[in-house]
């Protein structure tokens, strides 16, 4: 009978202190998001006040330069976000123990950020664009940025930061989460076997974990970017639908974003397929 002694001990209910600990940290995102929402109310309400359609004049800059600007922003920022996200995921997953409070704090926030529907990010983006006087529109007849994308690679700095921030907010949590999943998918027995052969942590990471997880990490980055592109395309599509005039630049942007989103989704699922065909093949 006492054979099963340990079994019962292991399955015993967690103590009160433990349960408290389990609830307090994961609930911090509520507070963080609450504060963030409070701060965001001002630009959003400003934006809603200003988007009175009669007051908006559409400036149509050179279509090509707009495309180049978009590509420039999206590529540089997403590269940064994906790299940061991957480094962050490695640090959380491989170096910090599961019980570490920093890790639990970040993980709970990342989980919430990935769960937010991307349209909400879009609304946040619109509010920032409009209240900081975008290059697309001249609001209330007062041109805020004179050089409205006339030359490529020259943008309003605040706007650039705003767009970049939204993009990082959208791409990074998804990258962190999926990269962590990819790292976790490398089975513990593989690591244990490698360690038992006398490999150092660095050797285990570079020779086993990264090669196995690589395609899935790439797929994660693609999926995150596809999400961001799709949202941008959605917003621009809505814009075109609303303001039918002066849409040459807009429609090419819409197509660019939509095409990129489609392409990246296909890339991502193909990479996942490739990963599965290499590592999950039925061996028996």
């Amino acid at each position: 009978m006492n054979l099963y002694k340990n079994f019962y001990v292991m399955n015993a209910m967690s103590t009160r202190a433990e349960r408290k600990q389990k609830i307090v940290l994961p609930s911090t995102p509520f507070f963080t998001l609450g504060i963030a929402a409070g701060i965001a109310v001002i630009p959003i309400s400003n934006a809603l006040k200003k988007t009175d359609a009669t007051n908006i004049q559409v400036v149509s800059p050179n279509a090509l330069s707009m495309l180049l600007n978009d590509l420039y922003i999206v590529l540089s920022v997403s590269l940064l976000a994906i790299l940061l996200g991957i480094v962050c995921a490695f640090y959380l997953e491989e170096w910090l123990p599961k019980t570490n409070w920093v890790r639990r704090f970040i993980e709970s926030h990342v989980a919430v950020l990935t769960g937010i529907p991307s349209v909400l990010y879009g609304i946040l983006a619109i509010s920032i664009f409009l209240s900081y006087a975008g290059t697309l529109k001249v609001i209330n007849g007062a041109p805020a940025a004179q050089d409205t994308g006339a030359r490529p690679f020259q943008r309003h700095t605040t706007l650039f930061l705003g767009e970049g921030l939204i993009f990082i907010l959208m791409v990074m949590p998804v990258t962190i989460k999926t990269t962590q999943e990819a790292l976790r998918s490398v089975a513990t027995p593989v690591r244990e076997a490698a360690y038992a052969l006398g490999a150092s942590q660095w050797q285990v990471l570079t020779r086993h974990v990264v090669p196995i997880a690589f395609t899935r990490m790439l797929a994660a980055g693609c999926r995150a970017m596809a999400r961001a592109f799709a949202t941008a395309a959605l917003l621009i599509g809505t814009y075109i639908w609303h303001y039918t005039a002066e849409t040459d630049g807009m429609s090419s942007r819409f197509l660019l974003f939509l095409g990129a989103a489609l392409f990246l989704s296909v890339c991502s699922s193909t990479l996942v397929e490739i990963h599965a065909s290499i590592y999950n093949s039925d061996s028996a």
Partner: protein, 251 residues
Amino acid sequence: MENKIEISDLRVHYGDTPALNGISFDVHPNEILSIIGPAQSGKTTFLKVINRTLEFTPEATVEGSVKLDGVDIRTIGDVYGLRRRIGMVLPLPVGLPLSIYDNVAFAPRAAGLRTKSELDEIVERCLQQAALWDEVKDRLDTLGTKLSGGQQQRLTIARALSHQPEVLCLDEFSIAIDPVTTMRIEEVLKTLQKEMTILLVTNLVQQAKRLANRTAFFLNGDLIEIDTTDVIFSDNPANQATYDYVNGTFG
């Protein structure tokens, strides 16, 4: 006779759950010591203590001492070197996601060996010892994970032999292997005994009877009995529980 491994009052806890409650025994050089016992009795934990992979389980605490050749393993600074002195075969066959050749050559390479001819020699010798060479010699560059379960298990044995360990720990090596191949590997183990000490954790009591010089019986983290295999499998071992377990009338 100098003892290969000396274990004194070894205690391991996972959090509040005890896994080993103060066991002490010696392992003689060049013997096959088999460890038998039901699930949850601390056999695998014991092996993890020896090659210090238990350190990856954060909640595990270890007390007492384990000495390898008279040196406490916890004072050894080069833990990777220590792990190379101890070969470990885990219960689930894990082909590392590398080619068959690289699987076997991994440990020698990690130890700094680069010469192609020496590596070739090691790979062929280890695969032959693990009774796998004939099946894979024509496709050494295919992924190790593509092999069948039994072949992967033999690949792990070849891998464990590749760094020429002083102590070979086998944790349920025969789960995924058919009886004929098991017999071939058991023959290999008997010849390897001349070069190294072998710790054999097994659920097959008959395997312990066939192979081991001495047998230890673990139960719920306690060492119930350790003696020569003849005594353990005789009609009158020192403890009644041992007799019951060996003869299948346990519980």
